[in-house]
């Protein structure tokens, strides 16, 4: 019975296969396709491997350059020691400088970050209204912060101490312009100095120290 069944199944399948015979060159077609696809794959790799290598190299160079640039910015904008709380000057918007103005002084720093600070005038008595103008003196996305303080340069003259000029608004390009009145008093630094502003040369520094300028107090 099973033999009969087997024969019958064979006949059925054979009939189905007879109606769809294999093409005479089946083997030729199959192997040609197989080896052609293999060769095509290899050719593809050979053709595009150099381009892929170059693109990968450029991508790596870009990543390294970006990382270096970012790390420089971080180093350049490392937070400086915050001045002790004390006297704080309130900047006022854009008043005219004192009539006894001396020529302005501009200091630009280009080594790490382009920061420019112009002090107009650059000398005058206590109470002189100076214009501080410049750009690039703040950390990106933050307000600028300045300090009027005893000069770090050469022999110190005048009073040791500082006055903060905080929260200086900047525009999108980092540009600012404020007026500032030369104070009568400085607060002490690390319990040294402080008191009445005596004639001498003082620094106006941004914090972080991206911009620096000097102002000479001619009389107290």
């Amino acid at each position: 019975m099973i033999r009969d069944f087997r024969e019958q199944v064979r006949r059925v399948f054979q009939r189905e296969l007879d109606s769809t015979p294999a093409p005479p060159d089946l083997a030729k077609q199959v192997f040609r396709a197989t080896f052609a696809r293999r060769a095509f794959g290899r050719q593809l790799v050979r053709q595009f491997a150099p381009t892929a290598a170059v693109l990968t190299f450029l991508l790596l160079v870009g990543i390294v350059a970006f990382a270096l640039r970012t790390s420089r910015l971080v180093i350049g904008s490392a937070p400086a020691a915050s001045p002790a709380a004390g006297l704080v000057s309130s900047p006022t918007a854009d008043a005219s400088p004192s009539p006894t103005a001396s020529p302005s002084q501009t200091y630009c720093r280009t080594s790490v970050q382009n920061g420019c600070l112009t002090v107009t005038p650059s000398s005058g008595p206590v109470g002189t209204v100076v214009v501080l103008e410049g750009s690039g003196c703040n950390n990106p996305g933050q307000l600028a912060y300045f300090a009027f303080e005893s000069s770090h340069y050469g022999t110190q003259t005048g009073t040791e101490g500082a006055v903060d000029i905080p929260n200086v608004p900047v525009d999108g390009a980092g540009h600012f312009r404020i007026t500032f009145s030369i104070p009568q008093q400085l607060h002490a630094l690390q319990q040294h100095g402080g008191g009445r502003v005596l004639p001498g040369t003082y620094s106006i520094d941004s914090l972080p120290i991206l911009c620096q300028a000097t102002f000479t107090v001619t009389s107290g």
């Binding site: 019958q8 064979r10 059925v12 296969l17 293999r38």
Partner: protein
């Protein structure tokens, strides 16, 4: 083909010898095509599936653990490729038999054959493959199991269930004698 000769051809093909691969796969193409036709019932699709299977076999020859079991390994690839083709036919209508063929069958063969033909066509694809491998290609049961990716017992069970759908009166001992 002797087992040792086949194992040698496999190792040569692994080394990139196209002639060895041709000698290895060539004798199996006829069976592969018949199997693909039995599953897909379309000559063009069967040919495409066979080409895919050949390329896959060439690419994945390293995965062949036992060089002597090349036939079942290759036929299994053919079955898998055919299943992929069938799955991709979701948009198509159910393929019906050629009416001319059925008319010819009715004229040439007994009604019994025609009934069996219809019953085979109604079988699930996996059952039909099992019947085809065992009864038409005359593969031993363990090789049928390998092609289907089943254990010997599972293949035996599937085959028996399929046979019972075609011929309910047949007993297990008769089928596997």
């Amino acid at each position: 083909m002797p087992d040792d000769a086949q194992a040698d051809l496999v190792s040569d093909a692994l080394a990139g010898d196209e002639a060895a691969f041709t000698a290895l796969v060539g004798p199996l193409l006829a069976h592969g095509y018949q199997l693909a036709i039995a599953i897909l019932r379309d000559p063009q699709e069967a040919q495409d599936a066979l080409q895919d299977a050949s390329f896959t076999a060439w690419r994945q020859l390293r995965q062949l653990r036992d060089g002597k079991a090349f036939r079942s390994w290759f036929l299994r690839i053919v079955v898998n490729k055919c299943k992929v083709v069938r799955r991709s036919r979701w948009w198509s209508v159910v393929r019906v038999g050629d009416t001319d063929l059925i008319k010819r069958e009715a004229k040439d063969d007994s009604i019994r054959d025609l009934d069996l033909h219809r019953a085979i066509r109604r079988l699930r694809s996996d059952d039909r493959i099992a019947i085809f491998l065992y009864f038409y290609l005359d593969l031993p049961l363990d090789e049928v199991a390998q092609v289907l990716g089943l254990s010997g017992a599972a293949a035996r069970s599937r085959l028996y269930r399929a046979v019972r759908k075609l011929r309910p009166g047949l007993q297990g001992q008769e089928v596997f004698q």
